[in-house]
C-alpha cells in the first residue's frame, strides 16, 4: 500500500521540478480535474479494500471523470452557468462517502486484528 504514496511524492517532486504554470483563466479547470482525480483515487482505494477493484473501471473512471469535470466546467463557462459547482458538490459528496467507507473498513480490520 505504500507504493501509491511514493507515487504521490514522486509526482509532487516532478511537478516542482518541471515548473509548469497554468494560466489564471484555466486554473479552475485544473482544480476541478484535480478534484475528480482525487475522487477516483479514493474510490479505487475503497474498491480495493472491498475486493471489487477492477483495473479497467478504475483507469477509465480516472481519465473520464477528470476530462468530464473539466469539460463540464468549460461548458458552464461557455453558457454562463456555474456548472462546475455541480461537479464540486458531486465529487465532494462522493469523496466524503468513500472516505467514510474506507475508514470503516480499516477500523473493522484493525479491531479484528486486535481481538
Amino acid at each position: 500500500m505504500w507504493l501509491p504514496l511514493i507515487g504521490l511524492i514522486v509526482g509532487l517532486v516532478v511537478g516542482f521540478l518541471l515548473d509548469w504554470r497554468v494560466p489564471q483563466e484555466y486554473s479552475s479547470y485544473l482544480s476541478i480535474a484535480l478534484l475528480a482525480g482525487l475522487d477516483t483515487i479514493f474510490g479505487g482505494i475503497r474498491s480495493f479494500l472491498e475486493r471489487t477493484f477492477n483495473v479497467r473501471i478504475f483507469m477509465s473512471g480516472f481519465f473520464f471523470n477528470t476530462l468530464f469535470a473539466a469539460g463540464l466546467a468549460f461548458i458552464g463557462g461557455f453558457l454562463g452557468i456555474d456548472l462546475y459547482l455541480a461537479a464540486i458538490v458531486a465529487f465532494g459528496v462522493r469523496l466524503f462517502n468513500n472516505l467514510a467507507v474506507i475508514r470503516r473498513i480499516v477500523l473493522s480490520k484493525w479491531i479484528n486484528q486486535q481481538e
Binding site: G7, V14, G15, F16, Q24, L34, L38, I41, G44
Partner: protein
C-alpha cells in the same frame, strides 16, 4: 492474486503521481499568479526611454569616477597624488561657488517693459491697468532653475552668486537672496553655453511669463563674463567630518 495486487498498486502509484503533478501545478499557479503587463505600449516606451537615459547618465558617471580613480592610482606611485587632489579640490571649490569664475555666458536684465501707448479707441474707456504685478521670488527661482537645468555652471543675481544652499524668498515686499535684499532692476548672469541657455529660456516661455508682470527680459550673449565668488559667511552647524578608522 499477488501478481494482480502488485499490478493494481502499481497503477495506483502512477495515478497518484499524475495527481501529484496536477496538485503542484495548481498550487504554483494559484500561489504565484503570473502578473500580466497591463500598461499601454506608449507608457512603457516612455518609461524605457527614461530608464535608458538614466542608464546612460550612470554609465557616464562611472567612467568619470573610474578615470579619477585611475588618476589617483597612477599618480600615487609617481608622487603626483597631491596635484591630483589639488585639482579635485579646486574643482569642488568651483562647484561650491567659493571661487570666482570666468567664461562665456549670458546676461539677463529684467526691466520694466515700455508698453507702447495703445491707440485709444474711445476716450471714455478706462485704460486697462497693467503692471500692478511685480516679480516675486517664485519667478526668480523658476528662472534660475531653468538656467541650472540647462547646464549653467554658475549663476548670480545682482552680483550674488548662487550656491546649492542659496535661498530666494520674499520677505515683506522685497526679495532676499540668502539674507541680502535685492531690488529691481534684476540682473542675472549665467555661465554656460549661450545658445543653449537662450533657447531654453525661449522654450520655457520666460518672456511671456515676465510679460504678464509687465517686465521685459533683455538677454545678451557675452564672450567673457565674470561671476565673483559667493561671499556669504557660512555657518557650519550640524555637520562634522566622519572619523574613519586608521585616521591619524
Amino acid at each position: 492474486m499477488l501478481q494482480k495486487s502488485r499490478k493494481i498498486t502499481f497503477i495506483l502509484a502512477i495515478i497518484s503521481a499524475i495527481i501529484g503533478v496536477m496538485l503542484t501545478v495548481q498550487l504554483r499557479s494559484s500561489l504565484h499568479p503570473v502578473h500580466k503587463e497591463s500598461r499601454s505600449i506608449a507608457e512603457l516606451r516612455t518609461t524605457l526611454q527614461k530608464e535608458l537615459e538614466k542608464h546612460k547618465n550612470l554609465l557616464a558617471d562611472i567612467s568619470k569616477y573610474n578615470q579619477l580613480y585611475y588618476q589617483y592610482e597612477t599618480s600615487l606611485s609617481e608622487d603626483e597624488s597631491i596635484s591630483v587632489m589639488k585639482e579635485e579640490l579646486a574643482r569642488t571649490r568651483r562647484m561650491a561657488g567659493m571661487v570666482g569664475m570666468e567664461g562665456e555666458g549670458i546676461v539677463l536684465d529684467v526691466v520694466d517693459a515700455h508698453t507702447p501707448e495703445a491707440p485709444v479707441a474711445d476716450e471714455h474707456m478706462p485704460v486697462p491697468v497693467v503692471g500692478d504685478y511685480t516679480i516675486d521670488d517664485e519667478d526668480l527661482r523658476w528662472l534660475v532653475n531653468i538656467l541650472f537645468a540647462n547646464g549653467a555652471q554658475a549663476v548670480s543675481i545682482n552680483g550674488h552668486r548662487l550656491i546649492a544652499t542659496t535661498a530666494i524668498r520674499n520677505v515683506g515686499d522685497v526679495i532676499q537672496i540668502d539674507t541680502r535684499t535685492i531690488r529691481a532692476p534684476y540682473e542675472i548672469k549665467a555661465l554656460g553655453e549661450p545658445e543653449v541657455l537662450l533657447s531654453a529660456l525661449k522654450l520655457e516661455g520666460v518672456e511671456d511669463n515676465f510679460q504678464l508682470a509687465n517686465k521685459k527680459v533683455l538677454a545678451e550673449k557675452r564672450d567673457k563674463l565674470m561671476i565673483s565668488a559667493n561671499n556669504e559667511t557660512r555657518v557650519i552647524q550640524f555637520m562634522k567630518p566622519v572619523k574613519q578608522k586608521g585616521d591619524s
